[in-house]
């Protein structure tokens, strides 16, 4: 317990001290959400905001779990700390827990600023985003455990994956893929799956009633797939850098 907590505390401190992180998970979503005020007239406030909640969560878990673990591995620290702690699982769970807390902070700041700006802020809104976060945190983290297995330099992966995020985000909103009858391909996009889960939760809390594009079973199957990917990755992640000597 104490070992897991050690990784949790040190990671949370690192995240909160690295100011550039705020740019991606708070400032950018706030600017984008405020800049899209015309869009808000067409949809309910929570439906509009849930896209940004999903963006915040995915950005946090991609950078804070997948890429951070790849970096620890690349620099040889995963090797040292795993041998000190006795298992790589402490580092992995510590990273995931710190990202859940950081995402909660990001979601709160986002909801307060954007919700107040549009005059739709409520505690219920924050709670819904938290419930979505708690449900999605493990599947998303597990999916991004694929990253440390990619045989590429961490700096290159960092740039590439953060660049890919934006088109995936846009595609999940525009549903352009659905026009080609590829609805299951669309569900493979983590933004789409997370978005559907958030809409389901919002509907459950009666903040809005919207038609789901996918059934609960389809979403659960996709979540199961993410979890299976994660479990395989946890077993496969070795302690040695694939690109540099340590």
């Amino acid at each position: 317990m104490r070992k897991w907590f050690a990784f949790f505390i040190i990671n949370l401190k690192m995240i909160l001290l690295e100011k550039v992180v705020y740019l991606w998970t708070i400032i950018l979503p706030v600017v984008l959400a405020i800049g899209q005020s015309a869009f808000l007239k067409e949809v309910e406030p929570v439906f509009f905001l849930h896209w940004f909640w999903v963006y915040i969560m995915i950005s946090s878990f991609l950078n804070g779990v997948g890429l951070q673990l790849a970096e620890l591995k690349e620099y040889g620290l995963l090797k040292t700390f795993t041998l000190v702690a006795g298992s790589k699982l402490y580092a992995i769970w510590g990273l995931i827990a710190s990202q859940i807390v950081y995402s909660m902070i990001s979601l709160s700041v986002f909801n307060i600023i954007v919700g107040s700006y549009y005059g739709v802020f409520s505690i219920k809104m924050i709670l819904i985003s938290y419930v979505g976060l708690l449900i999605l945190s493990i599947p998303l983290s597990f999916l991004f455990l694929l990253i440390p297995l990619i045989p590429a330099k961490n700096s290159s992966m960092n740039t590439l994956l953060n660049l890919i995020m934006y088109p995936l985000f846009v595609v999940s909103i525009s549903d352009v893929i659905l026009k080609f009858g590829l609805s299951y391909v669309q569900l493979l996009n983590p933004f789409k799956l997370a978005s559907e889960v958030m809409v389901l939760i919002s509907s459950f809390f009666s903040l809005e009633i919207r038609v789901q594009q996918y059934t609960l079973l389809e979403m659960m199957l996709m979540v199961m797939l993410y979890l299976i990917i994660g479990i395989i990755c946890i077993k496969k992640i070795n302690l040695l850098s694939v690109i540099q000597r340590q």
Binding site: R2, K3, F5, A6, I9, I10, K13, M14, L17, E18, E71, Y75, G76, L77, K79, T80, F81, L83, V84, A85, G86, Y90, N238, L239, L240, R245, Q246
Partner: protein, 236 residues
Amino acid sequence: MYNVENLKFKYKKTDEYILDNVSFSLKKDKLNVIVGLNGSGKTTLFDCLTSVLKPESGQIQFPRYHDILYLTQTLFFSYELKGKDFANFIMRLDNKAKIKDPSSLASEEHPDEIQLLSKLWNRKIGKMSLGERRWLFVFFLTKIDKPLYILDEPTSAVDPISRLKIIEKMKQLIASGKVCVCSTHQLQDLLFEDCHIIFLHQGKIKYEGSFYDWLEINETQNPDIAFERMTKEIAL
């Protein structure tokens, strides 16, 4: 004592053995030092000893991996963290109580170390010199109680004062009954230490024994010249 017999290792997709029938023993009362050229297989050897890599064959009579403290070469950490953050991270990993003030360690550590620790306690890692950073990492990681300590080039790219402090830390471990093995290219640092040298070259052990016998065999008092002669002799 801990020993290795006929250890063989090669990476997948390569034909050449990185470690080829490597055998040696570690001495409890001496500083065990693995020396060799860059690429001679020192880090691969450490990875095999700690079960990070699986050897093809051979016997390793070493403690289990969780009874070994293995300090790797690269010590990357967020530059924004302070010395105390790293210290307490290691304390928590080792199931020990948080340290609030470095002076609380005064009873168990040397006054010079407490003084340096106090200086680094509230300093950001990014503001420390490489030597200070490495010393801090060695200081806290070696506080973790293990029977065997493996330090991969702990004095690499470090100023002489910090090097002496790191060597002193390893000597303290040995004095307290622990087994300590390190790798280094700073052979001059070993002149005044009681060392057991294990010379690894092209994946094979070419010499194992006392540091002074090694100098004598190579007919010099300069360890760098002895090193050069030994690698040349092998090449010939």
